[in-house]
């Protein structure tokens, strides 16, 4: 991994050239599970943005105090705590969406992207730029998940954010509602992404 520490290159790297989903192929489980409705995907990925930003900030702040042996355990503790805080906030202020997401908010803890960035970036960089790295990585994740959700909701329900878009006569594709369709859509998105990248001549 190249270590750039300026905000601009980090942004480009996390959103595009080193996108967590289609370059690193991390966080696939949630890309499959929470992408059949745009609204749910939006809340879920916003939660990931918050958790990743805070986790990277915290890890970078206390990194010099953490003994090497328990590094991973401490990172997990930090991630888990923030995820539970987010879960509590969702339950208190947007109970309906919280119910829809069900166990998936808790499962953010196991999202490999968060731990990956904490370990690869926050452990060896100053706090603010680490927070930026966390937030932009999560945006990269959000971009791909929202694209998948856009296709799945449009074809599976004929709607976007719950508003009916397709004409009455449109027959919804049941497969798009089921998790396997996310595999196809994700595969196609990775394909398109890599094809564009190769054309640009970036090392893919």
């Amino acid at each position: 991994m190249s270590s750039v520490a300026a905000p601009g290159p980090i942004l480009k790297e996390n959103l595009w050239t080193n996108n967590p989903i289609f370059m690193q192929v991390l966080g696939i489980c949630s890309a499959l599970a929470v992408t059949n409705l745009l609204a749910n995907t939006m809340i879920m990925t916003l939660a990931v943005v918050g958790v990743m930003g805070m986790t990277n900030l915290t890890v970078a702040l206390i990194k010099s105090l953490i003994p090497r042996k328990v590094r991973m355990m401490v990172q997990t503790l930090i991630i888990a705590s923030y995820v539970i805080v987010v879960d509590i906030i969702l339950r208190a202020y947007v109970p309906d969406i919280s119910r829809e997401l069900g166990p998936y908010v808790g499962l953010i803890i196991t999202n490999c992207i968060i731990m990956g960035r904490a370990e690869a970036f926050a452990q060896s960089n100053p706090p603010l730029i680490s927070m930026w790295d966390g937030v932009t990585s999560a945006f990269g994740y959000m971009g791909v998940l929202l694209s998948i959700a856009l296709i799945r909701e449009l074809l599976g329900f004929g709607s976007l954010f719950g508003y009916q878009i397709m004409p009455e006569a449109f027959e919804p594709w049941i497969i798009m509602v089921m998790p396997p369709s996310a595999f196809f859509v994700l595969g196609i998105i990775i394909w398109i992404g890599k094809a564009i990248m190769e054309r640009e001549g970036a090392p893919a």
Binding site: P67, L77, I88, R91, P95, I174, V177
Partner: protein
């Protein structure tokens, strides 16, 4: 101090665990009332909705709910509400769906022959398929529905809902036969209980 030593590691781990558990306890403490209030409101709305009692806000629902009593009828624990000399009953139902427990309330007339309405409070069905039992069109089908021998039939028509009050039929969810069938079993078990307890046989 040597940061890699055993002593430091143990102390650091204990302190940081304490710090984060404290943070969680705080977050929980600050929101516990609100979460409980949300749950309470949801329960009240669900019971009133199942009985077909209309309200226009959470406050209004809470006010109406003060007149709801919990009663025992033939060993069944029911919610009861009196509206213009008319008694309305609601019962909590629950049972297994495809992935987990489905729970909610069903409202019924005092003679046990007609449902007043139905709500789904909790379920773990597949989002977008069986999960559609929490959509309004599905639940509205149970509004003032005449029972046939204390039961309702789950049919597979066009999946758009059956709103004929005397048909005795509910339209299931397209692509979610498992959930539709389980739901029919759960609700019919409870309806038959109600029908028998409220004396529907003699009516």
């Amino acid at each position: 101090m040597n940061k890699q030593s055993f002593g430091y590691t143990v102390i650091f781990t204990a302190l940081i665990s304490f710090a984060f558990v404290f943070l969680l306890a705080m977050a929980n403490e600050l929101t516990v009332d609100r979460i409980e209030f949300n749950n309470e409101v949801r329960l009240q709305r669900s019971i009133l909705n199942a009985m077909g009692v209309e309200f226009d806000s959470d406050e209004h629902a809470a006010e109406l709910f003060e007149r709801v009593e919990q009663v025992e009828v033939e060993g069944l624990s029911l919610y009861s509400y009196e509206r213009d000399d008319e008694r309305l009953y609601a019962k909590e139902y629950s049972g297994s769906g495809v992935w987990g427990t489905i729970r909610g309330h069903v409202g019924i007339t005092p003679d046990g022959t007609r449902t007043l309405g139905l709500t789904v409070l909790e379920h773990q069905e597949t989002p977008g398929l069986g999960g559609r039992i929490d959509e309004d069109w599905f639940q509205e089908q149970f509004r003032n529905k005449q029972l046939v021998d204390g039961r309702l039939e789950m049919t597979s028509r066009d999946g758009e809902g059956n709103f004929e009050e005397d048909s005795g039929e509910i339209d299931g969810i397209t692509g979610a036969t498992g959930t539709s069938d389980s739901f029919a079993n759960i609700i019919n078990a409870h309806l038959e209980e109600l029908y028998n307890a409220l004396g529907g046989e003699s009516a």
